[in-house]
Amino acid sequence: MLQVNDIFVAYGGTPALHGVSFEVPAGQIVSIVGSNGAGKSTILRAISGMLKPTRGVIEFLGEPIQRFPAFRIVQRGIAHVPEGRRLFSKLSVFENLLVGAYTKKSPTFRQKTLEQIFSIFPRLKERQSQRAGTLSGGEQQMLAIGRALMSEPKLLMLDEPSLGIMPVLVDRLFDVIKEINQSGITVLLVEQNVQRSLEIAHRAYVLQTGEIVLRGTGQELLASEQVRGAYLGL
């Protein structure tokens, strides 16, 4: 579904990614793990069009998208839940969800999708008229995911969804990610919670200083000495 071929990205002259290649097959959960500053967020930002790679090709459903502006990539079916959630804090929960459906104008579609999102996240329904800025960290993350789902993505990209969430909610969050995947949405997940994200991943990559150093199924990487030593402290 998504094919990333040898991309290079630099921030103001400093290289952040050098020659990263990987693929996300339709229907799977793919995790990219790695320490802080390895370039995980940069990969997602390059895919969603917030950064332009200096070299390389990003193909989505057979179409090269690396030159598209961000707003066109959403129309193609990729939703990006950015690091730090980036909600519209002055708008209500309900309004945030409507902005998420910007590319889908049909009222019946919106109604149907809203109901689905409210059934996954009942808290959002209770708080729909509240300002997004007043939600707790966990609720904000639910809203950020809900907002992304409103665009009916084929591929959902999540950047550090477990960051800033109460530990008791982290399990629930990973269950939700699995649920979303089972409903037919492909998931690309970037996480510092290596254990949990490898557990749910069909396929996973380890990123180190802008390069992919290990690849395999989630189970394979969980069992690998390298991952256990460097990331799981075992």
């Binding site: 961000a70 707003f71 519209f88 002055k90 708008l91 309004e95 409507l98 998420g100 910007y102």
Partner: protein
């Protein structure tokens, strides 16, 4: 002797002019709120719209109330073109370029108007809306009343548009976080164009309403836009209700100063008020940040 009637009369005229300040301020605050750029040429937009109305009157015999929609349409286009030709090229340039580009536009438009139309004061001699009427023992000029009501209604419409329509929501989203808005599929550049169009259209309304009774000359924008700047800061950058409240406060402070101290001090008290607010409550009366 000051009696109640004089004070009430003065307050009324302060509120009426305050609505105009508010409408000019709404245009400014909208552009600022959505893209963090101060339109220093906003007063010149007002001037231009007054000349549009004047020339439609002088050359085609159209009354300002008839040419109001034309003025709005022309100014919307002026706003969009300003974004495309003047502002967009410097969006990635250093901050100073962003500040000076609209300042340069202001100088250009002001001098262009002097060159094309001379510095002479012009007046629409026989507008349809003229004369005055008595309200509860107070006298009020009909053009002033119409202008104030028109400004109030327009401000209300802009507020409703921002809060209750899909496009308004889009503007609010881009105002808060343009990258996040782009991730929702919103084209930020189109939204910027729209903010400029609507911001300029607001002064298109104000200019047509003012042309009914105010002198028209190349620097006419100054009088209004300086007060509008104070209203934007006093009300809170980006806040439409704030601009309305602050516009009225400034109008009232201005006329009360004229009455109790001296008309020459009108601006001074408005600025003193502004500085006090900046020191005590820098985000403005209804500001959000």
């Amino acid at each position: 002797m000051l009696d109640g009637t004089i004070i009430a009369q003065t307050l009324l005229s302060g509120v009426l002019i305050g609505f105009i300040y508010a409408l000019v301020a709404v245009g400014l605050t909208l552009i600022y709120g959505v893209m963090d750029i101060v339109n220093f040429a906003h007063g010149e937009f007002l001037m231009l719209s007054m000349y549009v109305v004047f020339w439609l009157y002088a050359l085609a015999g159209l009354d300002p109330m008839v040419s109001l929609p034309i003025s709005v349409a022309v100014m919307f286009v002026v706003g969009v073109v300003t974004h495309k030709l003047v502002v967009r090229p410097v969006l990635r340039a250093p901050m100073s370029a962003q500040i000076f580009v609209t300042f340069g536009l202001m100088v250009f438009m002001r001098n262009g108007a002097q060159f094309l139309w001379s510095p002479n004061y012009r007046l629409i001699q026989t507008p349809l809306v003229a004369g005055r009427l008595e309200l509860f023992g107070l006298f009020v000029g009909k053009p002033q009343l119409v202008a104030a009501l028109g400004a109030l209604i327009t401000t209300g419409l802009v507020f409703w548009f921002l809060k209750r329509t899909e496009t308004g929501r889009t503007l609010q989203a881009v105002a808060e976080d343009q990258d996040a808005a782009a991730l929702m599929g919103i084209n930020p550049d189109r939204t910027f164009m729209l903010a400029w169009g609507i911001g300029a259209a607001c002064v298109g309304v104000a200019g047509a309403l003012l042309a009914n009774y105010y002198y028209i000359f190349p620097t006419v924008g100054n009088t209004f836009v300086l007060m509008a700047f104070v209203a934007v800061a006093l009300g809170g950058f980006g806040s439409v209700p704030g601009a309305l409240l602050a516009g009225v406060i400034i109008g009232v402070v201005e006329v009360l100063t004229g009455l109790f101290i001296s008309p020459a001090f009108k601006n001074i008290t408005a600025y003193v008020l502004y500085m006090v607010v900046v020191l005590v409550r820098p985000r403005g009366l209804l500001g959000e940040w």
